[in-house]
């Protein structure tokens, strides 16, 4: 049994995932679609046929999006910038997560009493590190891809707006970098040597500042580029 409301909901979600549409645009297009469906049903088409014909007459989501973008290019730019920030943030998170988990894994191995993990101080440690990082990047990448590559996610991003996404990205990046520092201190704390944790913490704070300043500069540059 054809469910018209569900079909219209999917159609609307596909439109919402495209740049250029506001909620009021979607309301207006949905009203148009329903009106057209009603007229086609009155001409003896089944509800499903009427829906398909009405969708076709209204146009493909990407074509409609292009038309609306011509009328409001600023909205399309904001949408693209939101995706850029989200993508950059996702990449930063993946890289940080890979390093944090590697540090925790190696630090924990180093704390196990006895010398059965001695080979890990050399080549073995490098292989374990590379293995953990690769696993995190692949699994995390797939999870993030699955999470973001949906119409619903695109619509949510659009509703949040560039400013909110950028602010959230900065806060989350700060927290993630703090976790990175903590994990490095934990890792080096498990190694023999007197001042390793203190030196590592100092270096990590320097990196923290650099990594926090760079994304801000990058975002400002992107914003100026997009607006020019």
């Amino acid at each position: 049994m054809f469910d018209l409301n569900a079909a219209i909901g999917n159609w609307r979600a596909a439109l919402a995932a495209q740049p250029g549409f506001s909620d009021s645009d979607l309301d207006e297009l949905e009203d148009h679609l329903r009106e057209e469906i009603g007229a086609l049903e009155a001409a003896d088409l089944s509800t499903e046929e009427a829906f398909l014909v009405a969708c076709r007459r209204l146009g493909k989501p990407e074509d409609l999006s292009g038309e609306f973008a011509i009328a409001d290019p600023e909205r399309r730019r904001s949408f693209r910038l939101s995706w850029m920030i989200t993508g950059a943030l996702a990449l930063l998170f993946l890289l940080l997560a890979a390093e944090v988990l590697t540090n925790i894994g190696l630090g924990t191995l180093g704390r196990i009493p006895g010398d059965q993990f001695l080979p890990l101080n050399g080549l073995g440690m490098g292989w374990v590190s590379a293995g953990i990082k690769l696993a995190v990047l692949i699994i995390g990448g797939l999870l993030i891809w699955r999470l973001l590559a949906t119409d619903r996610s695109a619509h949510r991003l659009k509703r949040l707006g560039v400013g909110t996404i950028a602010a959230v990205a900065l806060v989350l990046a700060g927290l993630a970098l703090a976790a990175r520092i903590g994990s490095r201190v934990y890792f080096f704390g498990g190694l023999p040597g007197a001042d390793m944790p203190a030196i590592t913490a100092f270096l990590a704070w320097i990196q923290f500042l650099v990594l926090l300043v760079l994304p801000v500069l990058l975002l400002v540059g992107l914003w100026r580029l997009v607006r020019s």
Binding site: S24, D25, E28, D31, H32, R34, E35, G59, E67, A71
Partner: protein, 114 residues
């Protein structure tokens, strides 16, 4: 016979302003009215109209408001503004000029002057 794309694009604004000068309307009704008046020979693609309406609203020629329709759904209606009426009169002069010139040219060529 259907109009070519360039002529449809060029005539969209004066058509929309002309229809709205007769009373407020909404997107679907505007499309249907043009279809009826032209005997289905001017076929706007449905999705094309709304960006045009956005642009006209941005230019201050028309304004929109939401109202609950008979169907119970919220519907966006458009009305022509003062600047829209002035713009329409300019469009009208230009189309009448072009139409008049073509009438005279074609009337002479075919020998059936108006």
């Amino acid at each position: 016979m259907t109009l070519n794309r360039e002529l449809i694009a060029a005539s969209t604004t004066p058509l929309v302003l002309s229809i709205l000068s007769r009373g407020d309307g909404y997107g679907y009704a505007l499309i249907k009215e043009v279809q009826d008046l032209s005997g289905d020979r001017i076929a706007w693609s449905d999705g094309m109209l709304y960006p045009v309406l956005r642009r006209l609203e941005e230019q201050g020629l028309i304004a929109s408001y939401w109202q609950v329709a008979d169907s119970g759904r919220r519907r966006r209606y458009y009305k022509i503004e003062y600047d829209g009426r002035r713009e329409l009169s300019r469009w009208r002069e230009q189309w009448e000029l072009v139409g008049g010139v073509l009438d005279r040219l074609w009337g002479k060529e075919t020998g059936c002057s108006t």
